[in-house]
Subunit: 330 residues, 2 copies
């Protein structure tokens, strides 16, 4: 599996429409989504998948530069239900189609049914004419993050949750990642951020910016529920080594002030950025730390324009830019 | 618009499922359809478009060599609601997206609604990344047939029917065909075959097999209702000239015995063949004339394998091989 910071041939996204996820007819989320798709399309080809009933609406809201294809889903999270693209030993692009159970299936999943989401990866791969590896076990794209050299970051909170693959051990996952992703070195973080209904996805937490550097979110307010888990993860990262036995370079991003809606804390995190070919899109929250987050990432991505995207209307759906996208490597 | 006998980069089809068109859960039609798609896929890439609800079924019934994409419709006639592919002055493949009104709209159309069908061409072109010319007037792909040199065959019965474009004259169509298809020479046949609910589509009637040769169906039974219209069309063809003023070479195909179902005569015609890159698929009807039709076309297509496809279960839906396909030129 190539790293996200390697060259892409495109990016896939899923149009938001589900009324219980997206308020006000999904119109505010769709406007924010269209801005994201438009921005990514300046840097790489974007395909937006949309249900039959919303096709005309999506086509009208998106610029001509974005390809729109009919492809139904249960919600808008291409990172998690879409394919994980890999390059096989002969240089051919293929896709892994993990079983998807809506982040927990009947044991705490976020909605029922999730059958259309579970078909998304297959349908994307059909459109792209790419071969497919279907798995019987459950995984989401946002639960794993690789450096393209053999190292994978993930979290115990998510992968060892019995509502994913009950009985699976760290060794079982190491074997899976070896076979499907070419990963030789699995780095286990502990817990994810507060408000993350996926049970601790790594893509709200820590991200590779190059093959030797991880950026992770850090909370300096002792009273915040994120303080302890993020401090623990930071200490873990500082002790971890890459696939060649070299220590990781570790940088930190701040957290925004907690974002609440209707009594629920939302998973607002600057770590949910998306790395496109020539730009990096970073979620912003009208927060005092937005500027620091953008400056930090600007320094870390010297060859890319780092652009803030207002994500209040997206984080209401409990995910932002990385959750909504799935890169297709060159 | 290139001729069908020119090189294709692929073929698009629409999965049959509509229960009032296709009997017995559409299973017999789907089996026949899968045989057609499989056969064409031996010669050129085939994409089958299918609604969300039938995706898994279609994927299971079709071979791996066929690409299956989610794309909803109101029925299975890609020839008529799909795009007409053209090559522009710079050699780019583009598509014409004619307005589709289910062969007559509120004035005799075959079903309501037809909104999904009318979106099919746009969605195909999105998947293919091809630019689109949308028209405000109505036309179906099966109503026109070109030689790729500037000549178009069509019928008065269909195009001058007031349920398509009321008030349009032959000159209006000549101008449309000039602008959208690069056609300079429109040849008007009169009436289509008995049982054709499209009001006389030319693709059940007369077809170019090369740039100077037309094959047309002929009925030798005086008592059959096809006798007079087909004799009239044959006489017209023999008097017609191509875009350069040269007479057409005209050959004939027989008709099968009339095929009836539930008191309705079905539009069974050998002229509804599909020309793929290396093969020609010809509808057969368990009829004594099947052999003659295949032999006639075998002689006319010396460089292609001419293959009969049993179409009883397809003609129940009132169309066969040409109606179900849409070629995409190289």
């Amino acid at each position: 599996m190539p790293a996200e910071f390697e060259r892409h041939s495109g990016c896939w996204m899923l149009w938001p429409e589900r009324p219980d996820t997206w308020r006000a007819g999904a119109k505010p989320a769709q406007a924010a989504f269209a801005a994201v798709a438009s921005a990514i399309a300046t840097s790489e080809p974007v395909t937006v998948a949309v249900s039959a009933g919303q096709f005309i609406n999506a086509r009208a809201q998106l610029p001509r530069s974005v390809r729109v294809v009919e492809l139904s889903s249960n919600d808008a999270w291409m990172r998690d239900c879409g394919p994980t693209f890999v390059i096989d030993g002969k240089g051919r692009r293929r896709g892994v189609d993990w079983t998807f159970n809506a982040w927990g299936g009947l044991g705490g999943g976020l909605y029922f049914p999730w059958d259309r989401d579970d078909e998304v990866a297959q349908k994307v791969l059909e459109v792209e004419g790419a071969d497919r590896y279907r798995t019987s076990f459950v995984l989401e794209g946002g639960a794993i993050h690789v450096d393209g050299q053999g190292t994978c970051l993930t979290t115990e909170e998510c992968l060892l949750n019995p509502n994913r693959n009950p009985g699976f051990t760290r060794d079982d996952y190491a074997e899976i990642f070896r076979r499907y992703l070419g990963v030789t070195n699995v780095l286990w973080l502990s817990r994810g951020i507060a408000g993350d209904d996926t049970h601790g996805h790594v893509d709200d937490l820590a991200r590779f910016v190059d093959a030797s550097t991880v950026v992770t979110v850090f909370e300096d307010d002792f009273a915040d529920s994120n303080y302890e888990p993020l401090a623990e993860n930071l200490a873990l990262l500082k002790s971890m080594k890459d696939q060649d036995g070299n220590p990781l370079r570790v940088e930190t991003l701040p957290m925004p002030e907690p974002v609440w809606f209707d009594g629920q804390r939302l998973p607002a995190s600057y770590a949910n950025f998306y790395i496109a070919n020539r730009i990096v899109l970073v979620p912003t929250f009208n927060d005092a730390n937005d500027r620091l987050a953008l400056e930090t990432l600007t320094a870390m991505f010297p060859d890319r324009a780092v652009i803030g995207i207002a994500c209040r209307d997206l984080v209401l759906g409990l995910g932002t830019l990385h959750c909504m996208t799935q890169q297709q490597p060159k």
